[in-house]
C-alpha cells in the first residue's frame, strides 16, 4: 500500500462560524479498512468535521483529502458515502424508489443501478417490503434504509453519523452486523456516536474531539493508558466502621479510608486485593462488598473533556 493515498487525510483543518471556532487545526488520518470512532460532547465540532469530509462544509484553512481527492471533487463524491444522522429519505417513496433515487444521484444507471438496488434491499432485509411507502416502515428499518441509501454506490470511505440513534436493541444489533459486513468489504469508516459501548465494540481507533480540537486519539487501550493509566480501582465496603489500627495499615498501602469505605488504586489486582483482604481478616473486620473496576472509555472521556458524553 506504500504510496497509495489514505482513505482520509486531514491536516490542520479550521472552520469558524462567525465568532465560534468549530474546528481548530484538526489533523486526522483514516487507515484503509479501519473504523475510526469520533467521540465528542455536543458542540465539540464532530458534526462540522463530518460535514467537511462530506463536502458540505468548506473549511477556512487546512487540507482534506478523500483517497487523495479534494472533498468537493466529483471523484471524491464517487468514492465517499455519507449516512446522515437524520432519516434523510423520501417518506412517500418506497425503499426501492429511494434507493433508485440515491443510486442515480451517485451516477449509477442501467444494470449497475438495478444490481445495486437488489443487493441493498437484500442487505438491509427489506426485499419483501421494497414497494411499501417508507413512512410505513419501523424506525429500525428506516435506519437500515438510510444506511443503504448512502452505500448503494459502493463507497470506499463511509461516514456514519450516529446510525443507531433511537433504535431498539435488536435493530441496533442488526446495524452492528451491517457495519461489520462493510468493514469486511474493505470499506473505511468514520463513525460518530454518543454510545461509548458502541465505540468500544466497533471501532479500531477512537479520536476524541473537544472545542474543535482532537484532544486524543488511538486504540481504546492506548487512550486508557495515556489518560487514566492502567491501574484498576478497588472499592471495599466494611460491615462496620474501620478501626484506627486497620485504617493506619490501609493508609500505608495507599488506600483512602472514609467511614466503612476503602478506595485503592492497584497495579496488580490479584496480589494487592489479597493483601487487603488479609488485613481485614487479621483485624477481624467483616467485608460486606468488594468491587474491582477496570478504566473505561467513559473515564477517559470524562478525564479529557471534564464532561459526560451525553451532556
Amino acid at each position: 500500500m506504500a504510496g497509495s493515498p489514505l482513505p482520509l487525510e486531514i491536516r490542520s483543518l479550521s472552520k469558524s462560524f462567525g465568532e465560534r471556532r468549530a474546528l481548530d487545526g484538526v489533523s486526522l488520518d483514516l487507515a484503509p479498512g479501519e473504523i475510526l470512532g469520533l467521540l465528542g460532547p455536543n458542540g465539540a465540532g464532530k458534526t462540522t468535521l463530518v460535514r467537511s469530509v462530506a463536502g458540505r462544509v468548506v473549511p477556512d484553512a487546512g487540507t482534506l483529502r478523500v483517497l487523495g481527492f479534494d472533498a468537493d471533487d466529483d471523484r471524491a463524491r464517487a468514492v465517499r458515502g455519507w449516512v446522515p444522522q437524520e432519516i434523510a429519505l423520501y417518506a412517500l417513496l418506497s425503499p426501492r424508489e429511494n434507493l433508485w433515487t440515491f443510486g442515480r444521484y451517485q451516477g449509477l444507471s442501467g444494470g449497475a443501478l438495478e444490481a445495486g438496488i437488489r443487493a441493498s434491499l437484500g442487505w438491509i432485509d427489506l426485499a419483501d417490503r421494497e414497494n411499501e411507502k417508507t413512512d410505513r416502515l419501523s424506525g429500525g428499518m428506516k435506519r437500515r434504509l438510510n444506511i443503504a441509501a448512502g452505500t448503494i454506490h459502493g463507497p470506499k470511505v463511509l461516514l456514519l453519523d450516529e446510525p443507531t440513534v433511537g433504535v431498539d436493541p435488536q435493530s441496533r444489533e442488526r446495524i452492528y452486523a451491517m457495519i461489520g459486513e462493510l468493514k469486511g468489504r474493505g470499506v473505511s469508516l468514520v463513525y460518530t456516536t454518543h454510545y461509548m459501548e458502541e465505540a468500544e465494540r466497533l471501532c479500531d481507533r477512537i479520536a476524541i474531539i473537544d472545542h474543535g480540537k482532537i484532544i486524543a486519539s488511538g486504540t481504546k487501550d492506548e487512550l486508557v493508558r495515556k489518560t487514566v493509566g492502567t491501574r484498576q480501582a478497588v472499592a471495599l465496603d466494611a460491615a462496620q466502621a474501620i478501626p484506627p489500627a486497620l485504617a493506619e495499615k490501609l493508609g500505608r498501602l495507599g488506600a483512602a479510608v472514609d467511614g466503612t469505605g476503602v478506595r485503592l488504586s492497584v497495579e496488580d489486582p490479584a496480589g494487592e486485593i489479597r493483601t487487603l483482604l488479609e488485613l481485614f481478616h487479621a483485624e477481624n473486620v467483616p467485608v460486606r462488598d468488594l468491587t474491582l473496576k477496570t478504566p473505561t472509555l467513559e473515564q477517559v472521556f470524562l478525564q479529557l473533556t471534564g464532561r459526560e458524553l451525553r451532556e
Partner: protein
C-alpha cells in the same frame, strides 16, 4: 371559562410568533381588498377606463368632421384617427382595412367607420328613415366598448350635428305636412345656415345628452367573435390555467423546503448532484407538469365548450411551453426565498393572487383602466394571456406571439437565476 381563555391566549401567542399566519390573517385580506377595489371599482379619474376607438372618416364632410370632433371631446373615449402618432401632421389616416386590423390585433377594442354620404344623410327620424349607416367594428371579447360607443354616437349626433338634425327634421316636416311655402323654406335655410357656422365650443354639454337613441343608424360587426363558437372560454381556460399553474408550481417548488428540512437536500448535495443540476431538474419536472396541466385544461375546454384547440396546436404548444417554464421558475424562486412551508403558503397566496388580479387571470385586463393595464404588464399572467389571446382569439400568425414568448422566457430566466442565487444558502457552509 378560564381554561377557554387560556386556550385562546395560547393561540394568540402562537399567532404572534408565526409571521406567515399573521400575514395570511391580516395583511393578505387588506392587500386584496385594495387591489380588487382599484380594479373593479376604480378609485377616481386616474383609474377610470377610457374606451379606445379608431375612427375612419370616409365621408370627410363638415358634418362628419363635427361628428368626429364631438366624439373626440367625449371624456369616455380615446379617439385615434391615424395608425401612427396622432399628432403627426402628415401622418396618414386610418383606412377601413387598417382599422379592422387594429381591432383584430387588439390595439383597439372597437373601430368606427363613417361611410360616404354620412354628411348628406346623417340623421333620420322615424321608422324606415333612409340614413347612412355608421359601422362599428367590434372585438366582442370586450363586452363594454361596443355598446358604450354606440350610446355615445347617439349622444354626439344630438349635440354635435344640430344642422344635420334640423335638415332631417325639416324633411320629415315637409313629408308629413304637405310642404312649406318658398318663404318658409328660405327662412329655415337661413336659420340652418346660422347653425352651420363653425363654433368655437366643440365640447358638447353632458346635460344635453337626451335619450332617444337611434338618431344615427349604427351597424355593429363582431369581426373576431363572428366565427367563434364560445368566445369567452379561451379567456377562462388561459386565465385560470395560468393562475393554477403558478399555484401548483409554487406548491411543488416547496419540495425544496421539505428536502432542506428533512436533511435530504444535504444528502443530495453530497452526491454528484450539484445545486444547479438539482434546480434544473426541478425546473424540467415543473415545466412538464405545467404543460400537462394547460393541455388538460384546453383539451377539456375543447371537448366541453368548443374551444378551438385543434386548429391552433402549434401556437398552443409554444405558449404552453413558455408559460409553464416561466411559472415553474417563479415557483422555484418563491420556494428558495422562503424558510418554511408556512412562509411559502403565505407568500405564494399573496403574490399569485395579486399577479392574477393585475395580470388579468381573474378579470380581463382590457376592461381595466389604461394605468392598471400598464401595471399589469409586470406580471407573467398578462404576457401569457396576451399570447394565448393572440393565438386563440385573434387568430394571429405564430410569429406575432414572439414578444410574449420572449418576455416569458426572459422572466423564466430571471426567476431561475434569482432562485439559483438564493439557493446558495443551502450549499456548503
Amino acid at each position: 371559562m378560564s381554561m377557554v381563555l387560556a386556550v385562546a391566549k395560547n393561540r394568540l401567542m402562537n399567532l404572534k410568533r408565526d409571521r406567515a399566519a399573521f400575514v395570511l390573517a391580516f395583511v393578505l385580506p387588506v392587500a386584496f381588498f385594495t387591489i380588487f377595489a382599484s380594479i373593479f371599482a376604480g378609485s377616481g379619474r386616474a383609474t377610470t377606463r377610457k374606451v379606445s376607438v379608431a375612427i375612419v372618416d370616409e365621408d370627410g364632410s363638415e358634418t362628419s368632421r363635427r361628428f368626429v370632433a364631438g366624439l373626440k371631446a367625449e371624456p369616455g373615449l380615446s379617439v385615434g384617427l391615424k395608425p401612427g402618432p396622432e399628432n403627426d401632421p402628415i401622418g396618414p389616416f386610418y383606412t377601413a382595412a387598417q382599422a379592422e386590423q387594429a381591432v383584430r390585433k387588439g390595439e383597439v377594442p372597437v373601430a368606427l367607420i363613417i361611410p360616404k354620404g354620412f354628411g348628406e344623410n346623417a340623421i333620420g327620424f322615424g321608422p324606415g328613415a333612409n340614413r347612412a349607416r355608421l359601422q362599428i367594428l367590434a372585438d366582442s371579447s370586450d363586452p363594454v366598448a361596443p355598446p358604450m360607443l354606440n350610446g355615445l354616437l347617439q349622444k354626439v349626433a344630438m349635440t354635435s350635428m344640430p344642422a344635420a338634425m334640423a335638415r332631417s327634421g325639416l324633411a320629415e316636416l315637409e313629408k308629413w305636412s304637405g310642404g312649406l311655402t318658398p318663404e318658409q323654406k328660405a327662412r329655415m335655410d337661413q336659420a340652418i345656415g346660422a347653425i352651420e357656422k363653425p363654433s368655437d365650443d366643440a365640447e358638447p354639454s353632458a346635460g344635453k345628452a337626451a335619450g332617444g337613441g337611434g338618431l344615427v343608424a349604427v351597424e355593429t360587426r363582431d369581426i373576431l367573435g363572428e366565427t367563434k363558437k364560445n368566445p369567452t372560454v379561451t379567456f377562462y381556460a388561459a386565465g385560470l390555467g395560468v393562475m393554477f399553474l403558478l399555484f401548483s408550481a409554487a406548491g411543488a417548488g416547496g419540495a425544496l423546503i421539505e428536502e432542506a428540512e428533512s436533511g435530504t437536500l444535504d444528502r443530495i448535495l453530497a452526491t454528484r448532484v450539484s445545486m444547479t443540476r438539482l434546480l434544473l431538474g426541478k425546473l424540467l419536472y415543473l415545466s412538464c407538469v405545467g404543460v400537462a396541466q394547460l393541455t388538460l385544461m384546453f383539451v377539456w375546454g375543447a371537448i366541453l365548450f368548443g374551444l378551438e384547440l385543434w386548429s391552433h396546436i402549434p401556437g398552443f404548444v409554444i405558449m404552453a411551453l413558455a408559460t409553464a417554464l416561466a411559472s415553474s421558475a417563479f415557483g422555484l424562486m418563491l420556494a428558495s426565498v422562503c424558510h418554511s412551508r408556512m412562509q411559502l403558503v403565505a407568500l405564494s397566496n399573496l403574490s399569485i393572487l395579486l399577479m392574477s388580479a393585475l395580470g388579468g387571470s381573474l378579470f380581463p385586463r382590457f376592461l381595466m383602466s389604461e394605468k392598471l393595464q400598464k401595471i399589469g404588464l409586470i406580471t407573467l399572467n398578462a404576457w401569457a394571456l396576451d399570447g394565448f389571446q393572440k393565438i386563440f382569439w385573434r387568430d394571429e400568425p405564430l410569429w406575432a406571439i414572439w414578444p410574449q414568448v420572449a418576455v416569458l422566457a426572459l422572466l423564466g430566466a430571471v426567476f431561475f437565476l434569482i432562485a439559483r442565487r438564493v439557493a446558495q444558502k443551502w450549499e456548503s457552509a
